[in-house]
Symmetry: C2
Subunit: 469 residues, 2 copies
């Protein structure tokens, strides 16, 4: 391979789907943080029953955008309304391509009128850096890429530490940390709180209705802040469980966010063609892997839109213009796929596991609690032999005693429908993250996203926890 | 707790078994090395089918013993014959207590006539440091403890890097590394070989009959040596698979070494009482955890002897004296327990896993591929309601498509016998590494150690791979 850009690699390979399905980049891991602090079952349990501490210092890119045009630049490159973006608010920022396909997403904080901190996967960071140069915007961008997947004993540095505390018992810890009641911060609003002798910014976050805060500051303060958090939990009498790398990514199955859509940048001309020339051959977009049973000749079949992911209510229709506005206007009101949760049938999951105790080629191993084996997953969801959806992020939940996945389905699929997920890949690829295997069919029941207690209660007896009979 | 020594902790707790069963130290992990490089199934497969690279730079203590009395000191504190210990040999060095109980084991290299490098778990390192002071030996000891379990992005340094390459295709790599045929090194002998522009020491090692080499040198050379190894494999056309932390410890299930006997130092007076005063409250011996279904009031029930582990052929009976010689002489010729492999019944394992898909308290999760949840494991092996053995180290083998464990059984247990392993703990402990669970009975068939192809072939059809039904 002699290509130095994504576009060069695509030209060389002739088939970008095949190229990405044969990536040797390995698993997309939650780096640096220990695999387990206690054990992954109790770490999952903690965010439902007591309180959990996520160390989010390492797994995301950070992009600092500042300058006279910072707000105008970001507003033009995301779908979100910016009119209500005051200093004490955060946003779930979603850029799309001119064709309206999702590139990725960021949590975006406004630190000053003209300074923003963006946190998320690489596709957004790369895109915004390109756009700033492409449009000759008067902004200064600093990029702090995620930590290495295998530091191998070498030191790791970030710009900021980032901790999140979640769970029903979390408020007791916040009060101890702050040395008194904390301000009543609204969802996705930011207020300063005290942690030890420091004043830190706190974002009101939350999963499945449980209150939570995300705090951040200079990386050099990380150990001090960590010690203050652990002491506050002890003083509050709360069993605060630190969450390790194995359990971390599964929290999204209960809260419903899909972390890994394929950025819709592999096709399109003009700006996108220039972007693919700009993107290096070692970029996330060029080296990331597509995994799963869904193999299409057309890379666009892996793209998703803001409507499909449920992000359409973010769209700032009143903004004069933004990248993708026209395309989104054309999509508006038309039937699109919708985001759902898939509950995997217990007996079919056990059938897959049982094959690891038989000679011959087994089914694709379902690793616990995180079976994803690529940066982007795409498993076929079938009904009567027709593909009616795509499963995009998988995991086992000890809280739900079930394997769940998130994905999109055709608009005529209903909650409660029983469909079939094809698990495992049809062909042998170069992916290092998967052993040789055969495909299995796994029945899945469609449930709402976020996965609600209502769904759990209504279907538990008849479905997920049904004993083999 | 105010005690500063192991002895102080034992006095405070009043029950050392209870103290160790309630340790909060967490899992005993293979530190620093990435959890997976490819995926743990293929990493296990590699040592059977092609070649595997183990990075053993981090998981073991190293002890450097040198000085005029170095040989006499080590000979006096291990059971091994030393008469045949020339410069180009290594030994599997086993110290025991005055009562003849195993403390631990080391691989010991003789670098000069008066300098030895010892590699192994902490109990041996601690014991030898104490003994040197206790006996006023004229030796100099440097202790390089294993790397931290959770470096959390901080830099890790060791004295030596240590790589091991194993598997049927390994010799092709050695020849490329050495730039020509390598010397015909006998098992556990040491010879220099070339790696790139360096000359390094190579120990002939091996698992399950496959040839292997272990090489080591200054830690600063680690990246260079690693690059040379990977290049040699590429040049040789061999699929050399790097082994991650999740698969690593399971290799011993096929080769038959038990890494984790409880050091027999919690009882005994005289030298041992002084040792327990010397050992810190934060030592491996004081903070390590005992896990498993076997709960005895008597800590000595967890001890093992060299006869039970099959190390009796090492014993240097001709040596004038060594610590434990008299006790071992008294044991000699008497019936003792013996080391075996247990094959876990497939249907019983699947029953345990299935409980993770049911509401209520599940069976103890069997984590794949490494289900151990304590520094020392002790699970009861039952026959007709009587305990007839102890399972001491567990793991799933993708090569054997089976969960295996190593342990000891009474002398009247025969290969082929079907016994019952009690999986999970009878009481709730403070251990952070295990979720709340109930106990399960798992049928196990007794097989030889090392787990031989003969055993696999004879029992496979009728037992392990039998389908449910």
């Amino acid at each position: 391979m002699s290509a130095t850009s994504l576009e060069g690699l695509i030209q060389e390979s002739g088939n970008v789907v095949e190229m990405l399905r044969n990536s040797k980049t390995g698993m997309y891991v939650y780096p640096v943080v220990a695999p387990e602090f206690t054990n992954w079952r109790d770490e999952q349990r903690a965010w439902r029953d007591s309180a959990v501490l996520f160390d989010q210092s390492h797994h995301m890119d950070e992009l600092i955008v500042e300058g006279p045009q910072a707000e105008a630049f970001l507003s033009y490159h995301g779908i979100n309304a910016f009119s209500n973006f005051s200093l004490n608010r955060a946003k779930h920022f979603v850029p799309v391509t001119p064709a309206g396909h999702v590139i990725g997403d960021h949590i975006i904080f406004r630190e000053r009128e003209d300074k923003f901190i963006l946190v998320g996967r690489a596709p957004n960071s790369n895109w915004l850096q390109f756009c700033a140069a492409y449009g000759k915007w008067n902004v200064r961008i600093r990029h702090d890429p995620r930590s290495p997947s295998r530091p191998d004993g070498e030191r790791v540095q970030r710009t900021h530490y980032r901790f999140q505390i979640q769970g029903p018992e979390a408020p007791k810890i916040f009060e101890k940390m702050n040395g008194g009641p904390i301000p009543d911060i609204k969802f996705f609003h930011v207020e300063p709180i005290n942690v030890g002798s420091k004043k830190v910014q706190a974002l009101r976050h939350g999963m499945s209705g449980a209150p939570g805060l995300e705090i951040w500051g200079p990386y050099a303060d990380k150990s001090y802040i960590h010690a203050c958090i652990m002491q506050a939990a002890k003083d509050a009498g709360v069993d605060l469980v630190q969450c390790g790398a194995r359990a971390y990514s599964t929290n999204t199955l209960e809260s419903g966010w899909i972390p890994s859509p394929l950025p819709g940048i592999y096709t399109g001309d003009g700006m996108l063609a220039d972007y693919r020339q700009w993107l290096g051959a070692d970029s996330y977009e060029a080296s990331g892997a597509i995994g799963g049973s869904f193999v299409s000749d057309n890379i666009e079949d892996y793209y998703v839109t803001p409507f499909e992911l449920g992000y359409d209510f973010y769209i700032g229709w009143k903004k004069d213009d933004f990248v993708g506005k026209q395309a989104l206007q054309e999509m508006k009101g038309k039937a699109s796929r919708k985001k759902v949760t898939f509950e995997w049938n217990r007996d079919d999951v056990l059938k897959v596991i049982a094959s690891a105790f038989e000679d011959g080629t087994p089914y694709k191993w379902i690793d616990f609690p995180q079976p994803n084996y690529a940066s982007t997953s795409a498993d076929m969801i079938m009904r009567d032999g027709q593909m009616v959806g795509m499963s995009m992020f998988n995991g086992y939940s000890f809280n739900e005693r079930c394997v769940l996945s998130l994905g999109v389905v055709n608009h005529d699929v209903e909650v409660g429908d029983v469909l079939t997920l094809v698990w495992g890949e049809p062909e042998t690829t170069q992916k290092t993250s998967t052993e040789k295997h055969r495909q299995a069919e796994i029945k899945v029941r469609v449930a709402p996203t976020p996965y609600a207690s209502e769904a759990r209660e209504n279907y538990a007896d008849s479905w997920r926890t049904r004993k083999a009979g």
